[in-house]
């Protein structure tokens, strides 16, 4: 009877112990599996970083090759035309190595009002504000509902002196003493946000070598703002109704404007043609590259000096973009 009781107790106890076995094994398995998962997760992250880097390196080499190919092609083109002759957007596609695919878009980048036209380089090497362009820019700013006083800030940032004609309390940040390189500098300086910035980019740009505004690549909205002595809206209607795209020289443009005004131009008015051109001397190349589900964005800009080799004003990217 005693023995029987012991056996019963043992069975009860052994059942309890079996419960511990299950818990112990589960705990060990969980620990091991979580450790393996953690290791694999870190490994995956490392492998991803490596792969992204190797893809980035491959892409850089391909972009470098595209850049040089475009440079060579345009070097030949400018020896024929003495300018890029690229007044409209051109699209190209290219299959790269290692499953890369590039979509290249080439467009003129001087069909806009150039912010570096606000200054000129004096004989002593310093940059000074250009009074005539200051007036034109103030007129354009007013038409675009922007504060015309901001034009002085654009000049102050680029000119060599540390005097501020706009605001004597301006911070040092406004004084770069060099021409703009990229339009985003002006947007940052004027503290323009979203819609204002987008509107600004539509009309303005930055080109360093040739500061002229290319009328051949310019949209009608911008052309109608270029002459402070002409009312914008009626002139826009005139431009719409009378062909202007076939005007081949600045002299043609002067005659066109005389025809519109029905009077001759004053010497002061004629001066506003100084910054105008019909030749394309700056282009932007946007390369959209893709591989599987990854997309990159690269942009570079070529500018044409009067003599010598083409210049690359800047390259941006490649930046990875998720689409």
């Amino acid at each position: 009877m005693k023995k029987f009781n012991w056996s019963l107790m043992s069975i009860k106890k052994s059942k309890k112990i079996s419960g511990y076995i299950l818990i112990s094994i589960t705990a060990i398995l969980l620990t091991i599996s979580s450790m393996i998962s953690a290791v694999l997760l870190f490994q995956k992250r490392d492998v991803d970083i490596s792969n992204q880097f190797y893809e980035f390196r491959d892409l850089n080499e391909q972009i470098y090759a595209i850049h040089h190919q475009v440079l060579n092609d345009y070097q030949n083109a400018i020896s024929q035309y003495s300018h890029f002759n690229q007044n409209e957007q051109k699209e190209l596609t290219l299959e790269g190595e290692n499953n890369f695919f590039h979509s290249i878009s080439i467009s003129p980048s001087d069909g806009c009002v150039n912010l570096t036209a606000l200054i000129y380089k004096d004989l002593d090497g310093s940059y000074r504000g250009m009074e005539l362009e200051r007036k034109r820019f103030q007129f354009i700013f007013m038409q675009l509902n922007l504060n015309p006083a901001l034009v002085d800030r654009l000049i102050d940032y680029q000119d060599s002196n540390s005097l501020s004609s706009a605001d004597p309390t301006e911070q040092e940040v406004f004084y770069k003493n060099k021409p703009f390189i990229h339009i985003s500098e002006a947007i940052d300086l004027l503290n323009l946000k979203d819609k204002e910035a987008a509107n600004f980019i539509e009309f303005f740009c930055v080109n360093q070598i040739d500061r002229k505004f290319n009328l051949k690549a310019m949209p009608l909205d911008t052309i109608s703002l270029l002459f402070p002595f002409v009312s914008t809206v009626p002139f826009q209607t005139y431009l719409k109704n009378n062909p202007y795209l076939n005007l081949q020289s600045i002299q043609n443009w002067k005659e066109y404007l005389i025809q519109y005004l029905k009077r001759s131009l004053t010497p002061q008015e004629e001066n506003f043609f100084q910054a105008l051109s019909v030749q394309n001397k700056s282009i932007e190349i946007l390369v959209r590259s893709s591989k599987k589900e990854l997309n990159w964005y690269t942009k570079f800009k070529l500018e044409m000096p009067n003599q010598g080799n083409l210049m690359t004003a800047y390259q941006l990217g490649p930046f990875i973009i998720d689409e």
Binding site: S14, I17, S50, M311
Partner: protein, 187 residues
């Protein structure tokens, strides 16, 4: 005299002791550690290896980030070094154009502080912002730091163009006298 009251076969089916669990955990951890090392080695063999023979993901990330910043920097950069061998760190101030969340080009003021044992990347999103924000910190050590920065200067129509040209092999690590040198070649 104490008699063992449990039959032998029942005693053996008991749960693991704490010591047994710890031993198993220790063995598992050792195995995982070895497997981890093995995986890393496989990865290293199949990758481009930098001069010290180790692949460092942090270095890769650093190289990529710095390269992107240098590549997208505007020519009016202020770089505190020009073909200089520095023992005590270097600071690069770049005016860089990046894409914002809406994929629009945006000016960004970037500062790289490169010390002997760590590298910090900071950004100031707007000129009006008073301070820089740290975006990356890399615990990398290079000794000594060597920066080779070349400017491409041209004078065209009274305007100076200073462009930093970065070739695909711009950022390299060199093993000189068993010391790793970080070299940035900007043409």
């Amino acid at each position: 005299m104490k008699i063992n009251k449990f039959p032998h076969h029942l005693r053996n089916t008991g749960g693991f002791t704490l010591t047994e669990i710890l031993v198993v955990l220790f063995i598992s951890a050792t195995l995982i550690w070895v497997a981890n090392g093995l995986l890393k080695n496989i990865q290293t063999i199949s990758s481009v290896v930098y001069p010290s023979g180790k692949l460092n993901q942090e270095y890769i990330l650093f190289q990529k980030t710095l390269r992107q910043d240098l590549q997208s920097s505007l020519p009016n950069n202020i770089i505190d070094a020009n073909e200089t061998l520095l023992e005590n760190g270097i600071k690069l101030n770049l005016l860089s154009v990046n894409l914002d969340i809406e994929k629009k080009e945006k000016l960004l003021q970037v500062q790289w502080k490169i010390d002997k044992d760590r590298i910090i990347r900071m950004v100031r999103p707007h000129s009006f912002d008073p301070k820089y924000y740290v975006t990356h910190q890399f615990n990398l050590s290079f000794s000594p730091l060597r920066f080779e920065i070349f400017y491409n200067q041209r004078w065209v129509e009274n305007l100076r163009l200073d462009r930093l040209f970065i070739k695909p092999q711009a950022i390299q690590l060199r093993d000189v006298d068993e010391k790793i040198q970080l070299v940035i070649n900007v043409y």
